[in-house]
Amino acid sequence: MSALVVSDVSRNFGGVQALSNVSMTAEPGERHLIIGPNGAGKTTLFNVLTGTFAASGGSVLLFGRDITQLPPYERARLGLARTFQITNLFPRLTVLENVLLALQAADTSAFSLYRRLRANVPVFRRAKALLDDWDLAAIAEKTAKEISYGEKRQVDLILAIAARPKVLLLDEPIAGLSAAEVVRVVGMIRRLPREITILMIEHDMDVAFELADRITVLHQGRLIADGDVAAIRNDPQVAEIYLGAD
Amino acid sequence: MAFWLIQALNGISFGMLLFLLAAGLSLIYGLMKVLNLTHGSFYLLGGYIGVAVVRTTGSFVLATLAGAFAIAVVGVVMERFFLRRFHLQELPQALLTFGFLFIFSDLAMVIWGSDPETMPKPALFDHSVQLGGFYYPSYRLFIIAFGLAVAAFLWWLQEGTRVGAMVRASVDNEEVARALGINVSLLFSLVFALGAFLAALGGVMGGPIVGVYPGADFDVLLLGFVVVIIGGLGSLKGALFGGLAVGLLDNFGKVFFPELALFTVFAPMALILAWRPSGLFGHE
C-alpha cells in the first residue's frame, strides 16, 4: 500500500489557483523530493496535506485512509509529521522542553491535569536520549530563542521525528544554512530510519538529486513532471522552467 | 406607522453617532492592530470640550471643531509617545489604553464634576420638520445626513486618494510598504488622529441628544465594540452597517424590552459571532 496518495488536489485563495489538480504518490520508505520555482505551490501542497488549509477539491490518502477532512492534529496522530519553512519552535521553552512537548503529544496521558510532568521519567529519558543521539545535549537547557539558526533547524527536525512518524514532510530544511550546517543537516536526513517516508521541498538541486528516490516538479500550481532522478534530469520541460526562470 | 418611523429614525441617528465612533476604532485597528480602549474617552472629552466652547462662544460649529481638533492632538500624543513603543504587543497596549481611559475619566470628573451636561442644539436645527404625518426634530435628521457625508468622505479617502492607497498598502504588508518608501509611522499618527477626531466629533454631535455624562466613555466604548464585532474590525462598510444595526437594536430594545435593554444588542452580537467570528465584513 502506498504511504501517501494525493488525487486531484486543488486549492484556491480567493480566486487565485495555488494548486490545480495535483496527483502524486509516495511509496513507503521513499525519499520524495518536491521541487519547483518560487510560487509553484510546494508549501501550499504541504499545508493541504497536513490540514493547515482545507483542500478545495481532491483527496489525500495516508496508508489507504482518507484524511482529506481530518483536522491537522488528527493527521499528526496518524503519523504525519512536518517541519516548517520558517522555523517554528517554542521560543521561550528550553530545547529539552521543546522535545518533551513533541514526545508528550504521542503519550496517551498527555491530557492529564493532575499528574506531574516531571514525574514522567520515561518521557524525560527519551527526550534526553534523543538529544544525545543527535549531538544536541549541549544546548538542552538553552531556550529555543537563544540557539543559533542552524541549531534551530536541527531542533525543528527533531521535533518532527520525535513521535516516530510514518510520513515526514520537510519544508526546505537546509535553506539559509552555512555549508558546514548543510552537511550536518543532510547527514541527519540521511540517517533517518528507512521506514519513514520522506517528502521534502528543496531548492538546492544538487542536494535534491543526491537525496531523492523520486522527484515531483511543480510549476504555477500544476504538476509538470514526476519521475526518478534520471528522468527529471533529462526532462526538457523541467530544464526550460529552471533555465528560463534563472 | 408614524411610531415605527420615528423610532427607526431615532435608531438610525444614534447609529450614525456609533458609526463615527466605530469608524475610528476600526481604522486604527485595521492599520496598526491596536484595540484602542481609550476611544470612549475621546468621545467623552470631545463632548465636554464642545459644551465648554458652546457656553463661552455660543457657536456650535466652533465647539465641534475645537472638540474634534483638541482630541486629535491628544490622540497624536498618545500614539507618538506611548503606543508606538508597543507595536503589535496587545497586552501592554490594552493596559496603556485602559489606563488612559481611567485617567481621562477621572480628570473629566475633576474638571466637569459628576452632573450630566447637555449640549444645546445649534439654532439652525433647533426645530422640528414635518415628515408626512408627523413632526420630527431636524437635528436628528442633520446627524443622519452628516453621518452619511462622513461615510462618503472616508470611503473616498480610502479608495480614491493617495493617502488611502498608502494606508491600504500598509495594512496589506507593513514591511513592503516601508520598503516602498511609504512613511508608515506618519500614517500611524495620522490615522490615530483621524480616529480620535471622529470619536470626538461623535461626542460633540451626540451632546444634544444623548448628553455628556460621567460613564459615557464606558457606555459608548462597549457599544462601539459591539458595532465592530458585528461589522468586522478594520472594515469601513462594517462600521457603517454595524453602527446602524446597533443603533436600531438599541433603540427598539429600549422601547420594547426596557428591562433587558442591553441584551437586545448583545444577543444578536453573540449570534453573529457564532456564525462569523470575524464579523460580517471582516476578513480572517
Partner: protein
C-alpha cells in the same frame, strides 16, 4: 540539573511554610480591619492566579474574567439569601454556574485570538453585566443584593462552625485559598499545563505535533472560570453583598493589571500583584478621592516600566547581580 532545581524547590517549600505559618498567626496581630484587608488580598490573589492560567500559561488575554467571578458571586449570594442554602450547596452551585457560563462564552470567544479575543471576552462579560444590571426583580439591579448571610460550616458529627466572626472567616478563607492554590499549582506543572505553555508559544506547531489545541484552550478557559468563580463565592460571603460592579469591565481590567503587574506565567507574581493593588487601593482611598486617576497611572506605568511584572524585575535584578559576580570572579 538534578540537584539545583531540587534545592530551589526546597527553598520554595521552606518559604511557603513560613508564609503559611505567618498567615496562621496573623489574627493574633491584626485588627479586624487589617484582617479584612488580608482576606481581600487572598481572594484577589486567587482571582488573579485563575486569570494567569489563561494569560500567562495559555497566552490568551481575556478582558472579561470578572464575568465568572460575578456570576458565581450572584449565584451563591442568591441561593444563600433567597433559598437559605448552606455553604456546601451554595458555593459549589456558584462555581458550577461560572463553569457553565465560561463553557458557553468559550464556545464563542475561542474562535478568535489576540485583540479580537480581548474585545469579545470583554463584550461577552458585558452581557452578564447587562443581566445583573437590568433584571431588577432577580438581582436588585444597580442596588445589588445586600445582607447575604455569612455561612456556618456544617461539618460531620453535628459540628457547626460559625463563620460570622472575622477570625473564623479568615481561617476559612485561608484554608480555601490554600487548597485552591495547590490545585492550580498542580495544574500548571501537569502535562496539561505544559501543553498550555506550548500553545502560548506556537499553536501551529502544537497542531502539527498532534495536540487538539482547541480542547486544551477550552478546558483552560473553563478551569480559569472555575477558580475565578470560587474566588467570587468567597468574596460574596466576605462582603455580604454583591452588585453589578462585581462583573464590570473595570474589574476585569483590574485583575488583568494584577496579573501583568506581578508577572504573568508565574502564579506567584499575579498573587503579589493582587496584594499590591488591594493594598494600594485601601491606603490611597483613605487619603484621596482620586483613586481612579492613580490606578490609571499605575496601568500606564506597568505597561511602560514593568511589562514582565515585579517578578520579571526581580529576576532581571538577580541575573544582573549574578553576571556582575561572575565578572568579578573572572577578573
Amino acid at each position: 540539573m538534578n540537584t539545583e532545581p531540587r534545592q530551589r524547590n526546597n527553598a520554595a517549600c521552606g518559604l511557603a511554610a513560613i508564609l503559611i505559618l505567618g498567615m496562621l498567626a496573623l489574627p493574633y496581630f491584626l485588627s479586624s480591619y487589617y484582617l479584612g484587608l488580608a482576606i481581600e488580598m487572598m481572594i484577589f490573589a486567587l482571582f488573579a492566579m485563575s486569570l494567569d492560567l489563561l494569560v500567562g500559561y495559555a497566552g490568551m488575554a481575556s478582558l472579561g474574567h470578572a464575568a465568572y467571578f460575578g456570576v458565581a458571586a450572584y449565584t451563591t449570594g442568591l441561593l444563600a439569601l433567597r433559598l437559605g442554602w448552606n455553604v456546601w450547596l451554595a458555593l459549589p452551585a456558584g462555581v458550577l454556574m461560572a463553569a457553565l457560563t465560561a463553557a458557553l462564552f468559550g464556545l464563542l470567544a475561542l474562535r478568535t485570538r489576540g485583540s479580537y479575543f480581548l474585545m469579545i471576552t470583554l463584550a461577552l462579560s458585558q452581557v452578564a453585566w447587562g443581566i445583573a444590571f437590568g433584571w431588577r426583580t432577580l438581582t436588585g439591579g444597580d442596588d445589588g443584593l445586600p445582607d447575604v448571610p455569612r455561612p456556618a460550616l456544617n461539618l460531620p458529627l453535628h459540628l457547626s462552625w460559625s463563620l460570622a466572626g472575622s477570625t473564623a472567616f479568615y481561617y476559612f478563607v485561608l484554608v480555601a485559598i490554600t487548597v485552591a492554590t495547590l490545585l492550580l499549582i498542580r495544574i500548571v506543572i501537569s502535562p496539561f499545563g505544559f501543553a498550555l505553555r506550548g500553545i502560548r508559544e506556537s499553536e501551529a506547531r502544537m497542531l502539527a505535533l498532534g495536540y487538539n489545541v482547541w480542547r486544551y484552550k477550552f478546558v483552560a478557559f473553563v478551569l480559569a472560570a472555575v477558580f475565578a468563580g470560587f474566588a467570587g463565592c468567597l468574596y460574596v460571603y466576605y462582603n455580604r453583598f454583591v452588585s453589578p460592579d462585581y462583573l464590570h469591565v473595570a474589574r476585569s481590567a483590574e485583575v488583568l493589571l494584577m496579573v501583568i503587574l506581578g508577572g504573568a506565567g508565574t502564579l506567584i507574581g499575579p498573587a503579589v500583584g493582587a496584594a499590591v493593588i488591594v493594598l494600594l487601593q485601601n491606603l490611597i482611598s483613605a487619603y484621596t478621592e482620586r483613586w481612579l486617576l492613580i490606578l490609571g497611572i499605575v496601568y500606564v506605568f506597568v505597561a511602560l516600566f514593568a511589562p514582565n511584572g515585579l517578578v520579571g524585575v526581580f529576576l532581571e535584578y538577580r541575573a544582573s547581580r549574578i553576571k556582575r559576580h561572575v565578572k568579578r570572579l573572572n577578573s
